[in-house]
C-alpha cells in the first residue's frame, strides 16, 4: 500500500519558500567547468523575445511554465501522482509490482527500478522525468535529442520517411519528426522493448507503446513539451503529461554514466565506503 503524506499546515510556508528559493532566476555561477556553465557573463535571452521559426537548438532545462511558480512533483508539471494514467488490468498489475525509489517509497535495497538496479536505459518518456537538461541539435535530415541523463541520444529522422510498421524493439524506440508549423515540432516514436518504465513511479508500458512528443517553442527562452503515450496493452486511454523548459545558452551538458558507482550506491546509502575503492 503506497502512502502519501500531506501536511497542509505548512503548505503556505512551503509554497512561499519554494517560490523564493527554488525557481528564482538568479544569475548562474561563474567559472564552472565541464558539465557546468561556459564561463563569462550570464547570457539569458530576453524572455519576451519571439520564438525563432523552426528552431529548437540549444540546451533546455526543466522549469516551471512562464509566470508560474510551484513545486515540481516527480519533475513533470503534470504530476503523475495526482493525474495518474488510466491503466488496463495488465498495466495496473505491472504497476503494482513496481517498487519505486524516486517517489520516496522504497530504499535502494528494496527498489526494483530497472534504472537504479540494472543501469537500464531510461526509455521514453522516462528520460524526461530525470531532472537533467537536454540539448537539441538540428541538421537538414535529422534532429538529435541529446540527454545529459544518462548520456543518451535519440535520432529523430526529419527526411520525410514514415514510421516503421514492424520496428525492432529498442530501448529508446525509432523516431520520425516534422514541423507542424513554425513553432511546433512533432516527434512520433514506436518500437520499444518492455523493459523500461514510463516514469519514475513505475507505470508500465508494452512493446505496443507509441509516444508522440510535441515541442512548442513558446518564445526564445521557453519550451513546452506535451507527451502523449498510447499503449492498448498497458493504458486504457492515452496519457498526456507536460513539461516546461527554459533555455540555458551558457550550459554544456556534462558527463553521466551509469556504472558500478550507481549500482554500489546502496552501500553508500547504508553508510558504506566501498563504492569507489
Amino acid at each position: 500500500m503506497r502512502t502519501r503524506v500531506i501536511v497542509p499546515t505548512v503548505a503556505a510556508a512551503f509554497a512561499l519558500a519554494a517560490s523564493a528559493t527554488l525557481f528564482s532566476q538568479a544569475a548562474p555561477a561563474q567559472g564552472a567547468r565541464g558539465g557546468g556553465a561556459r564561463g563569462g557573463a550570464p547570457a539569458q535571452p530576453a524572455a519576451s523575445a519571439p520564438a525563432p521559426a523552426k528552431d529548437l537548438t540549444g540546451v533546455w532545462m526543466m522549469r516551471n511554465p512562464p509566470g508560474k511558480n510551484g513545486p515540481w512533483t516527480n519533475f513533470t508539471y503534470t504530476d503523475p501522482m495526482k493525474n495518474p494514467p488510466s491503466m488496463t488490468d495488465w498495466g495496473l498489475a505491472q504497476f503494482k509490482l513496481a517498487k519505486d525509489s524516486n517517489g520516496g517509497n522504497y530504499t535502494l535495497d528494496e527498489t526494483n527500478d530497472p534504472v537504479l538496479t540494472k543501469c537500464y536505459p531510461p526509455g521514453v518518456p522516462r528520460v524526461y522525468f530525470h531532472p537533467y537538461p537536454f540539448e537539441v541539435i538540428q541538421t537538414p535530415k535529422q534532429t538529435l535529442l541529446v540527454y545529459e541523463y544518462d548520456h543518451w541520444m535519440r535520432r529523430v529522422h526529419t527526411d520525410g520517411r514514415a514510421l516503421p510498421t514492424d520496428p525492432d524493439p529498442l530501448w529508446m524506440g525509432t523516431s520520425v519528426g516534422r514541423w507542424v508549423d513554425d513553432h511546433n515540432f512533432q516527434v512520433e516514436t514506436v518500437g520499444f522493448n518492455e523493459k523500461t518504465w514510463l516514469d519514475r513511479l513505475g507505470h508500465a508500458h508494452s512493446d505496443q507503446l507509441k509516444v508522440t512528443e510535441n515541442f512548442r517553442r513558446i518564445d526564445s527562452n521557453h519550451l513546452e513539451l506535451d507527451i502523449k503515450m498510447e499503449d492498448p496493452k498497458a493504458l486504457a486511454k492515452p496519457w498526456v503529461t507536460t513539461f516546461y523548459y527554459e533555455n540555458r545558452p551558457q550550459w554544456e551538458l556534462g558527463e553521466i554514466s551509469c556504472s558500478g558507482d550507481y549500482l554500489d550506491w546502496t552501500q553508500v546509502e547504508k553508510g558504506g565506503r566501498d563504492y569507489k575503492r
Binding site: F14, A17, A18, A27, N102, G254, I256, W265, V268
Partner: protein, 127 residues
C-alpha cells in the same frame, strides 16, 4: 516563543527543501525526512563523483570521541553548474552541515544545507 519560532522556521526549511529535486537520481526513503540534524565538523574528503557528490567529515562527540560522517549532495554536474569544483571543500575545512539522517542510525546524511569555512551556505542546486 523563540523555541517555537525556531521550530516553525525549521519546518519551513524542511518542507521548502523537500520540494526541490533533492536527490536527482535516488529517492530519499532511506533517510528520516521528518528530522533535520545539524552537525559541525572537519572535512576529510570530498568525492566529486556520480551519481552524488559525497562529503566525508569528522564530528567530535561530547565524550571526546570522533564519528566519521558522510553526506550526499546532488550530482556533480548540477553542483558544477552552481559553481562547485572538486576543490570547493578540502580536507581540514570546517563545515556546518544540515540534513536528514539514515533511518538505520548510520552516520549518513542526505544534505540539505552546507556552510563552508567562511560560514556561508554553499549553493546546493543549479538555477
Amino acid at each position: 516563543m523563540a523555541r517555537n519560532l525556531i521550530l516553525m522556521l525549521g519546518l519551513i526549511a524542511v518542507f521548502a527543501l523537500g520540494a526541490r529535486p533533492a536527490l536527482a537520481h535516488h529517492g530519499g526513503a532511506a533517510f528520516d525526512q521528518t528530522k533535520m540534524q545539524t552537525l559541525s565538523g572537519t572535512v576529510t574528503q570530498l568525492d566529486f563523483v556520480n551519481p552524488h557528490v559525497v562529503v566525508w567529515f569528522d564530528v567530535q562527540n561530547p565524550d571526546g570521541t570522533t564519528t566519521k560522517w558522510s553526506g550526499w549532495l546532488t550530482a556533480p554536474n548540477k553542483l558544477q553548474r552552481a559553481g562547485w569544483t572538486k576543490h570547493t571543500l578540502n580536507p581540514g575545512d570546517h563545515v556546518t552541515i544540515s540534513g536528514n539522517q539514515q533511518k538505520n542510525g548510520s552516520p549518513v546524511l542526505q544534505i540539505r544545507t552546507v556552510a563552508g569555512p567562511d560560514g556561508k551556505n554553499l549553493p546546493t542546486f543549479e538555477q
